[in-house]
């Protein structure tokens, strides 16, 4: 089976620093891959290269076996890759539907220049509610601005937005880092639903128990290199931690 996303020999330099050193990675549809590592291990650089924020100095990226060139965040999105960064990139002053469609508004008629097109507000609102319902995300008020929602609700909206537009890969950067137990639960459930829907999901996380729970595979990075791969389970946790800190050999 072809992987949804294949990264081969990813290499990235920032001046003298080798941030990524020939990293290989594969994620399949319907799979959750955890990328683990200490601060500075290269996790963020890797996903930024996949999501178009940085460009690789060397290496290839394939989507469903097709080589692609990802030169910008827009290019990544066009290839079906959506990323939820730690800061969520939500618009606090807008309601969920406007957040979903920011920068890709559904509007017409087509003969008008884009800024002057009339928003199809009903269509966007309905589609947003549909996605939220499908992912079993319950919000107190679909018309309220996102700024009025709790950290967990905001995280869930950001993830749902990514899921709504990602045809291939959803990348989540520390999705539970700022959340309490109950709110983390909701996000983890959502990740499992994304998997059930056939998305390829990449999760960057420090929370080992969360990784163990949702990830099918865990890739460990250290100093820009991939140092190991494990099937996360209570048994392998210790080995994974050892890989992260580099104490085993």
């Amino acid at each position: 089976m072809t992987a949804a996303l294949t990264v081969r020999g990813a290499t990235k330099r920032f001046g003298p620093v080798l941030a990524l050193d020939a990293v290989d990675l594969e994620v399949h549809h319907g799979e959750v891959l955890a990328v683990l590592g200490d601060n500075g291990a290269g996790k963020s650089t890797l996903i930024k290269c996949i999501s178009g924020v940085h460009r690789l100095d060397a290496g290839e990226i394939e989507i469903d076996g097709e080589p692609v060139h990802i030169a910008s965040p827009a290019a990544a999105r066009a290839h079906g890759i959506e990323t939820v960064y730690q800061d969520l990139a939500l618009f606090d002053n807008l309601e969920p539907a406007a957040n979903f469609y920011a920068g890709r508004e559904d509007a017409g008629p087509r003969w008008l220049p884009r800024p002057l097109r009339v928003l199809r507000r009903r269509t966007m609102a309905d589609a947003t509610v549909e996605v939220l319902d499908r992912l079993q995300v319950s919000l107190p008020d679909h018309a309220a601005s996102v700024g009025l929602m709790s950290g967990g609700q905001r995280q869930v909206i950001a993830v749902a937005r990514a899921a709504a537009f990602a045809s291939k890969v959803v990348i989540l950067d520390e999705p539970t880092a700022a959340l309490g137990v109950r709110e983390s639960r909701r996000v983890l459930d959502l990740i499992l639903r994304l998997r059930a829907e056939g998305h390829a999901v990449i999760v960057i996380s420090h929370a080992m128990d969360h990784v163990t729970e949702v990830a099918d595979r865990a890739v460990v990075m250290r100093r820009g290199r991939k140092v190991g791969e494990e099937i996360p389970s209570p048994d392998s946790q210790e080995r994974i931690v050892a890989l992260i800190v580099g104490s085993s050999r």
């Binding site: 965040p73 827009a74 999105r77 960064y85 800061d87 990139a89 939500l90 618009f91 606090d92 002053n93 807008l94 309601e95 539907a97 406007a98 920011a102 920068g103 890709r104 508004e105 509007a107 884009r114 800024p115 002057l116 097109r117 009339v118 928003l119 507000r121 009903r122 609102a125 107190p140 008020d141 018309a143 601005s145 700024g147 009025l148 929602m149 709790s150 950290g151 967990g152 609700q153 309490g180 109950r182 709110e183």
Partner: protein, 374 residues
């Protein structure tokens, strides 16, 4: 359906919506929030708190309209002249210029910006229009020249801010405040240039019944801008840019062109204000619009738009402008010392900004509560 971005419509509808939503929401939480049983007791206190916060937020959002209504009632009780058609027409015509400038300023403030140059831009457009008329241009051409002058200054503001990579528009618009005023004074030799075409004079002076022409102009502009803000992609981009510029950039909103566009619109509306002013004076005046930039900013803030960007609609700008007009007119009618007016308006600005701060604080509490109730 009712959302913040599209609340850009009429002020009254945007704010009136708050109360029923608050009530519906509160009952919804009380009825469906959390399972019955032992959990109910602690959650009940939270739900009450939640309801209270919603009401408080609604009151703050309605605040400017309530204060305006109070001002109107109070002044009309104190002065029998206040609500006569003659005086209302008077207030409206005096408010027209501030209102037009405030609508332009609102667009800029929505993107977290400020335009200090609108008063000077008004004067420059006024003088350039008078020169065009002097050279025998017909009314429509004079109007176009004034609008183009305003838009040109706005473009300079936006272009230097965005492509000059300035951290904030304050300095560039401060510079054009000075430059445009200087140009207006030089071009006119420091004296008003008499004479405006009939069309321009009519916009500034005439009325239908007791409603001044300028009021209809303000209404038309308000509707147009409200439609742009709430219905068009452009308006959505303005809110997105003001709400989270970094996220807007990442999601593909053309942030820089959007920023330039709001300064051009603000300049263009300063050109409209120049038409109203020049018509009233029947002259191009290089000293017109002094301190008008401060009035326009004050109107936007008093009206309840957020100085932090991303929040506010045309109704805020209009309510703020009318409030300033009513305060000035009322104090005149009641023979209050004229020097007291700027003090009162300054005090109202402080109140408005503090209300905005309070709103932010309440919203944070609200968010925390939601997490607890979820």
């Amino acid at each position: 359906m009712s959302n913040v971005a599209s609340a850009g419509g009429e002020a009254v509808r945007g704010t009136a919506r708050v109360a029923p939503t608050a009530a519906g929401e509160a009952t919804g939480t009380a009825a469906g929030g959390g399972p019955p049983g032992p959990v109910e007791a602690p959650q009940d206190g939270l739900a009450g708190h939640y309801r209270l916060l919603r009401v408080a937020l609604g009151v703050i959002r309605l605040g400017p309209v309530l204060i305006l209504a109070g001002l109107i009632v109070g002044t009309s009780l104190a002065s029998p002249v206040f609500l006569t058609t003659g005086n209302v027409g008077n207030v409206l015509s005096q408010t027209a210029v501030i209102a037009v400038l405030a609508v332009g300023q609102l667009l800029v403030v929505l993107t977290r910006g400020i335009d200090l140059s609108v008063g000077s831009t008004l004067a420059l457009a006024s003088v350039v229009g008078a020169i065009a008329f002097e050279h025998g241009q017909p009314g429509p051409a004079v109007v176009v020249v004034m609008l183009a002058t305003g838009a040109a200054v706005g473009f300079v503001n936006g272009a230097v801010y965005v492509w000059g990579r300035l951290p904030h528009p304050f300095i560039i618009t401060l510079a054009t405040l000075s430059i445009a005023r200087g140009l207006a004074l030089r071009l006119s030799g420091g004296q008003p240039k008499r004479g405006m075409p009939g069309a321009v004079r009519s916009i500034g002076n005439d009325s239908i019944g007791w409603l001044p022409h300028s009021t209809f102009l303000v209404a038309a502009i308000a509707v147009l801008v409200a439609v742009v803000l709430s219905r068009l992609v452009w308006g959505r981009w303005i809110y997105a840019t003001g709400g989270n510029p970094e996220a807007a950039r990442r999601t593909g909103v053309p942030v820089r062109p959007v920023l330039v566009s709001v300064y051009v619109m603000c300049g263009l509306l300063a050109g409209v204000a120049a038409i109203v002013t020049s018509g009233r004076l029947n002259a191009g005046s290089p000293t017109a619009g002094e301190l008008a930039e401060l009035d326009s900013i004050a109107a936007v803030i008093i009206g309840g738009a957020s100085f932090l960007g991303g929040r506010g609609h045309v109704g805020n700008a209009l309510v703020g402008a009318v409030m300033i007009g009513v305060i000035r007119n009322g104090m005149n009618l009641l023979n209050v010392d004229a020097f007291l007016q700027p003090i009162v308006i300054g005090a109202v600005i402080v109140l408005a900004v503090e209300a905005d701060v309070l709103r932010t604080w309440l919203e944070n509490r609200f968010r925390v509560l939601q997490a607890a109730l979820a």
